[in-house]
Subunit: 319 residues, 2 copies
Amino acid sequence: MDVVLGVDIGGTGIKFGLVTKRGKILYTDKVKTKAYPKPEKLPEDLKKRIGAVLKEKDLTLRGIGIGTPNGNYFTGTIDNAPNLPWKNLVPLKEYFQNTFNLPVALTNDAKAAALGEMQYGAGKGCKHYIFITLGTGLGSGIIVNGKLVYGYDSLAGELGHIIVHRNGRECGCGRKGCLEQYASATGIVKTYYELLRTKSIDDFRMSLGNMIDAEAIYKKAKAGDEIAIDSFKRTGEILGFALANSVCYTRPEKIFLFGGLAQAGDLLFEPTIQSFNENLLRIYEGKIKILPSGLKESEAAILGAASLIWKEMPRNKKK
Amino acid sequence: MDVVLGVDIGGTGIKFGLVTKRGKILYTDKVKTKAYPKPEKLPEDLKKRIGAVLKEKDLTLRGIGIGTPNGNYFTGTIDNAPNLPWKNLVPLKEYFQNTFNLPVALTNDAKAAALGEMQYGAGKGCKHYIFITLGTGLGSGIIVNGKLVYGYDSLAGELGHIIVHRNGRECGCGRKGCLEQYASATGIVKTYYELLRTKSIDDFRMSLGNMIDAEAIYKKAKAGDEIAIDSFKRTGEILGFALANSVCYTRPEKIFLFGGLAQAGDLLFEPTIQSFNENLLRIYEGKIKILPSGLKESEAAILGAASLIWKEMPRNKKK
């Protein structure tokens, strides 16, 4: 059976898996990113690790798809990724090609997941959508006419850096008020602390000794904590506003929300959809759905990376 | 010689012209919009008016392209255009098809001009750009991979209604703070009066008896009037900010500014480019040009409308 190696590169770990054309993951494993101070060692090592599996399960490797922070589809390089140990430009596509001698495609992790949504998730058959990942930051992929928008140099779809508050929160990009400073796991924590400080300076001070994360805010909200619930409301309010503006660009049919924060369900979706509707241009009213992603959190990145290759593979290929 | 009839529908007048594939306008004329309380009379009348010209110049009409406010490319209708005398849905494409029995294409006026820019203007050979018309309102067309983005229902590219100031100026769309309330001929007049009122309430009151327009503000600015110059600065500041955000969606190579305000040249371009650069995400720095349109103001709409048909015409068609 034909499979593709999907590789999901993150700041902490590198997940990889063997994926069939139908999106079944036949094998997965993980290595630590810091185990590869030299990225050129990665392909060789992965080749060894999957070699036995391919043989044992009688699988034929057809290509390698890679999703990575700051991945550039056109050049096949990782460009100055702040959260990876590899600086400057890393020609990772070339490294993999040299090792495997097979088709390799590399792109930004959010773009890979956006494609995975089309091939294996809730985006099947949908030609116009926006895919948003709400993780540590906010990533996105925009689909127009069934194709991912790469733009002039593969750097389209940076919705995390839409400025939503001029002179708002400082962003890692060096500017202020970017969307991902509000609508992301990091953003909701900041919002939580802002609200807590406003309500009670003592609670705020006490909480600082025991830093809270987005998951803890979710649990608090579920338990009825007002500040936690309000944190989700404010996050949704800003996200809904930004998405309403976003619709004016490419007029999607659907918007998919993926990632940790999106798993909070109604806590996030309700205020997001309410704000979206309040801020939406009338000609779009009632026409655009905001939906949860159809991809499993644990599988999305590998599936997305693999779909990069399956999409490029000639359709008349046997098997 | 083959020609296409380009029709540019406006609130006051309807301009039309016979356009060759190379973009030469062989004949133009104009009728008053209010002369057609029933839009179904328009095609018949235009047919009569161009009939003699076609014969005399030995031209073959190959199709009709129509640019109109609220034109929907997919349905061929004009949808609830507030500035036209025709209410609800007007199936204008069908009316023209019935009369001429030739290919007809209809779209939003700004989208038509964006295509005209590609075929006949400064967008030749550019696969990724954003086209902005700064007229009474702000219209736009987004080009991705050499194709106009229509989105799910032809209503993509409504950048005039990006909200740039929450709770800002009231917009005709029923919301507040839309970009076109600031960056348009109407917007700069509002900005001028705001600045004038802040500076001198007496000047402000006196000026109200003699309403100023965008062209007068341009002349005042050229003559050194500080409030007029400042009005352009503030207009450019907001436009540049909005364009910097816009780049995050489709990552264009270029941005073209068209229309009355854009003809103010440096008065508008300098503050726009400055603000654009200040607000731009670093990964795009120095890579995106903001340029004046290459289309003549008087010809753009007819050329754009005509280009709709020339673009759809099979390439192997003789002559």
